[in-house]
């Protein structure tokens, strides 16, 4: 990260101050600001910017992100460092940073974390509005998780959708020329597949991704929900009961029975080992298959979440980036985010992700890579049906607690294990009432 010579720095600072950008005020919208931002906003010598992100399952995107961070550093004369840790280990770091009021300047936010950590995050309304004006309004779910009490607490970055990865060849054998559209069709195909020793696979263990994808999609799909719009616990409904009964039946007829112990990675392994014929997952299965299992990738395609009487839904939380309130480098941070979310940069980062992230605004639906590989189309389209866990209630601290306790997932798991569906739903109701108390 090159440092600027003294005089040049001052000149630029003066210039930018006049343009109102370096002052960090609500940015000037439109081309001049973008051009100015790209042409190296610069900051006092020795300014550092520290960014904390998760370790992406697409290693190439980490590489690209670090490269872009370095590029920004050179342009702005800032020392940029990027720390990467596991998704699961972000929470203790964030908690510690907010409590001790020291740590990274920008931290990645997953799902509704902005609600959880709202008090420690700086407002980024100006940035968000600028980008929304330029690229089109943010998707609903991105917006829902990022706006707390009418203030933008994080800048939506992307979404990592999950869809059904499935074996086209085996589905054809079972009589399905394309991925089933409704849950009833899905069940018919599943029965045929399991009879042939090729069950589908679903996780019901305690990890944040795959288990919740089923739990929420199916619950909503049959018309159930944890809470209603006013925030009252509404899980004990006909819709939920139907969903649970459906799941218990599907467990016996269609699913691999190891699923109770599965975490997010188990279905990947099972699919690539050929023991299951379909599973809900992010694009990581496809990604690994492309590189290591060419014969599997040839027969793998992606299908949409089936529709139920209540509709078609995906549980999507999206990701964002937050500027920390304690940070002494908030201006730099915002400049970085502004620069990153803009054309050439975000373009390159999205390309490096090879289709595994979806942009936060409709603008990125037109990205070239979607044309390149039509098999990735369901990922792109899934955001239209995306809802945040806790929908239709507001996403807040309490829905986080429900997620953390895996109440919905455990409801299904216990029913599968033999608890009567009515009792399982009642149990979930009791737990949710405590969480939302």
């Amino acid at each position: 990260m090159a440092k600027r010579e003294g005089s040049t720095t001052i000149d630029r600072r003066v210039f930018l101050k006049a343009a109102g950008v370096a002052a960090g005020t609500a940015g000037v919208v439109g081309v001049p600001a973008i051009v100015a931002a790209q042409k190296a906003p610069s900051f006092p010598k020795g300014t550092r910017l520290n960014i904390l992100e998760w370790v992406s399952f697409v290693p190439a995107s980490d590489v690209e992100f670090k490269r872009l961070a370095g590029e920004f550093g050179k342009l702005a004369g800032v020392d940029v460092t990027v720390d990467l840790i596991n998704m699961n280990d972000l929470n203790p770091r964030i908690a510690s940073a907010i409590e001790t009021k020291a740590g990274p300047d920008i931290i990645m936010m997953i799902s509704n974390w902005p609600h959880l950590y709202a008090d420690g995050l700086a407002d980024v309304d100006d940035l968000a509005e600028e980008i929304a004006k330029r690229d089109g309004a943010f998707y609903d779910h991105n917006r829902a998780v990022s706006v707390v009490d009418k203030r933008w607490k994080a800048l939506p970055l992307c979404s990592v959708p999950s869809t059904w990865a499935y074996r086209e060849d085996w589905f054809k054998e079972a009589g399905a020329s394309k991925f089933p559209d409704t849950w009833d069709e899905w069940r018919k195909v599943g029965i045929a597949l399991k009879k042939k020793g090729r069950p589908m696979g679903q996780a019901f263990g305690h990890s944040l991704g795959d288990p919740n994808n089923w739990a929420y999609s199916v619950t909503w799909g049959f018309g159930g929900a944890e809470i209603d719009e006013s925030g009252k616990v509404a899980i004990n409904s006909k819709g939920t009961l139907e969903a649970v009964k459906f799941t218990v039946a599907a467990w016996k007829d269609c699913l691999d029975e190891g699923g109770l112990a599965w975490d997010d990675s188990s279905n990947n392994r099972a699919y690539l080992a050929g023991t299951i014929s379909a599973t809900i997952n992010g694009a990581s299965i496809y990604f690994v298959a492309k590189r290591q299992f060419p014969d599997i990738v040839k027969v793998t395609n992606h299908g949409h979440m089936p529709k139920g009487p209540g509709g078609r839904f995906y549980a999507i939380g999206g990701q964002g980036r937050a500027v920390m309130k304690y940070s002494k480098n908030q201006q730099v941070a915002k400049e970085f985010l502004r620069w990153f979310m803009d054309r050439p940069q975000y373009d390159k980062w999205m390309a490096a992700n090879d289709g595994y992230v979806v942009g936060p605004t409709p603008h990125w639906e037109k990205h070239a890579l979607w044309e390149k590989d039509p098999k990735l189309a369901p990922f792109k389209e899934s955001v239209k049906f995306g809802r945040v866990p806790g929908y239709p209630g507001p996403p807040n601290r309490k829905s986080s607690e429900a997620l953390v306790k895996y109440i919905l997932v455990d409801m299904y798991a216990q029913a599968i294990k033999g608890m009567k569906p009515e009792d399982a739903v009642k149990w979930a109701e009791g737990e949710l009432k405590k969480a939302y108390a």
Partner: protein
């Protein structure tokens, strides 16, 4: 005690077979880890492949470990951190153990209990307020953040061990030295400490292992890749979302333990005789 009596059959049944079973049960997971670390990726994902051997061993995973991650650096960090925090804990434990065993003073009993009671406080409770302290001293993201916090769970055990050991050394030896003109401190340093060396060794092994192994504090207090320790680094870089890189993971596990075991084998004989002292009445 040598196996001196009994027929070969009896020896086999009462000794060789149980020992063999025990060794197998203990080391089986390591055997599996070794095979996994030299097995090509294709086989790792296949349900059919025999988990006990592979016909196509590869060193790629070990190469990946060193090339794709900063494993060598982490190994050095972990070694440095474990060594220094062990040294600190031994130093404190040695002095405290001696004081509690040998010296008479009013606060001996409550202080001894207090030191012991701190062992009861779980790290999962402590780490956030501890983060405050670390931050206040400006130690965040330096090895010193963990070097100074590890002794909190190492010192109690070291103190206990050395306390017991000192109690078995007869007071008369020190008293003789003092009669001969040595000061209390000199008697302590020149007489008692050398006799306690075996105890120091055993406490050292314990402390080193726990430091080597530690996860939570290292996760929260060390952030940049260059500062990470083996458990954090290997776990972080090779477990990406829902994709686990099993080959390098197991390679990392092996390289992160076998060297330590080799070093221990030289100390184990000492260690065994050391605790002898702590046990004898």
């Amino acid at each position: 005690m040598a196996v001196r009596y009994g027929s070969p059959l009896r020896r086999a049944v009462t000794f060789h077979i149980p020992l063999g079973l025990l060794v197998c049960a203990t080391l089986f997971p390591f055997y599996w880890m070794v095979i996994t670390s030299i097995r090509p990726d294709r086989e790792l994902y296949s349900v059919q492949s025999n988990p006990f051997f592979t016909l196509y061993p590869t060193v790629k995973h070990f190469q990946d470990l060193f090339e794709l991650t900063m494993f060598a650096r982490w190994a050095w960090n972990t070694l440095f951190i474990a060594t220094v925090s062990t040294a600190i804990s031994l130093f404190c434990g040695l002095l405290a153990g001696y004081a509690l065993a040998r010296l008479q003073f009013r606060w001996a009993a409550p202080l001894g209990t207090l030191i012991f009671v701190t062992y009861l406080v779980p790290p999962t409770l402590l780490f956030i307020p501890l983060g405050d302290v670390v931050q206040a001293f400006g130690l965040a993201d330096t090895p010193w953040a963990v070097i100074l916090t590890y002794p909190t769970f190492l010192i109690p055990f070291c103190t206990w061990l050395l306390l017991g050991y000192f109690k078995t050394i007869p007071k008369e030896i020190e008293e003789c030295a003092r009669i001969d003109g040595a000061s209390r401190v000199q008697a302590m340093v020149r007489i008692s400490f050398p006799l306690a060396v075996p105890g120091i060794l055993s406490a050292g092994i314990f402390a080193f292992t726990l430091s080597w192994n530690e996860f939570l504090y290292a996760l929260v207090f060390l952030s940049s890749p260059q500062q990470k320790t083996i458990p954090i680094g290997v776990f972080t870089e090779l477990v990406r979302g829902d994709v686990f890189y099993w080959g390098p993971l197991m390679a990392g596990a092996l390289l992160g333990s076998i060297p330590v075991a080799i070093v221990y084998s030289f100390f184990v004989e000492h260690y065994v005789t050391a605790l002898t002292g702590a046990v004898k009445g």
